[in-house]
């Protein structure tokens, strides 16, 4: 901005205002003298609060990381639990198959004992019909 350059060339940033000698050295004391004592204690508490908020803000990434880790651990545990259930079910099925096999072999033994051949078995089945 040319106008801003013009202003800076004409007046610069010099401060034409002055203060009495030692003014700022005693300013703090002067202000504190005017403030009631109760207010200074309240102010100390309030100065801590923004600092506490700043600390919490800086810890926020850690909280997010901890939450993600918990979700991941829970997810893996759930997956493993479900996986365990599905590996157990084929065992049951094989047991069922085993039972069927057992009953078939039992029948074979029984028919051998009864000295029946297949033609006799078919004939008895047709007779019942």
């Amino acid at each position: 901005m040319n106008e801003e350059v013009l202003i800076e060339s004409k007046m610069g940033k010099r401060n034409p205002f002055t203060v009495p000698s030692g003014y700022f050295d005693q300013l703090t004391e002067q202000i504190m003298q005017n403030i009631p004592e109760e207010s200074t204690q309240t102010a100390q508490i309030h100065e801590i609060k923004p600092a506490k908020r700043a600390i919490l803000r800086s810890l926020r990434p850690l909280f997010y990381a901890a939450a993600c880790t918990c979700i991941a651990v829970f997810g893996v545990a759930t997956y493993q639990h479900l996986n365990k259930q599905t590996t157990e079910t084929p065992q049951l099925q094989s047991n069922i198959v085993t039972v069927h096999s057992y009953s078939d072999s039992y029948i074979d033994e029984a028919t051998d004992y009864a000295m029946l051949d297949n033609d006799d078995i078919y004939a008895s089945l047709l007779a019942d019909m």
Binding site: E3, L6, T18, E47
Partner: protein, 159 residues
């Protein structure tokens, strides 16, 4: 600690608006009193200095508005004009041009005057000024541009 850390910066913000040392000292004292008593309202959503600046600048602008409505100076002083009053002030170290410039700045509307002071002298960011004055950054940029234009016209007239 808050007073020690920020009092000098706040003083200069007030002084550039109020112009005289005695009045600036009074305004600053009032500003800190107000800050202490309303510390409960500070929610930490801005920097502490920003919050204190808002209080100090509002106190300074209120003071100048009251002064315009009920001037305490004698009729002689009024006729002198602000530039001449500054030249007569023991705590003003500038020449006549600088005194006239301060008069030109003092005549700007409040927002233009304040944004010019904070931007030009304190080199404050618009985002920071926006939090102090409660005005949008776009509005502040426009106000600053107008203030700069008026002040540069002052220099062109006095050349």
């Amino acid at each position: 600690m808050m007073v020690r850390q920020y009092s000098e910066q706040l003083y200069w913000q007030v002084r550039r608006i109020v112009l005289t040392h005695e009045d600036s000292n009074d305004v600053l004292q009032n500003a800190f009193m107000k800050a202490w008593t309303s510390l409960d309202t500070f929610k930490g959503d801005s920097k502490l200095f920003t919050w204190l600046s808002r209080i100090a600048i509002n106190e300074a602008l209120d003071f100048t508005r009251k002064q315009k409505k009920h001037p305490l100076q004698s009729t002689d002083d009024e006729e002198l004009g602000l530039a001449n009053q500054l030249m007569a002030d023991n705590y003003f170290d500038g020449d006549e041009t600088e005194a006239q410039l301060q008069e030109a700045i003092a005549q700007l509307p409040d927002v233009q005057k304040t944004v010019f002071m904070l931007r030009y002298y304190d080199e404050m960011k618009y985002s920071e000024i926006s939090k102090i004055l409660g005005t949008s950054e776009g509005g502040l940029k426009a106000s600053y541009h107008i203030a700069v234009k008026k002040i540069s016209e002052f220099f062109k007239r006095n050349d």
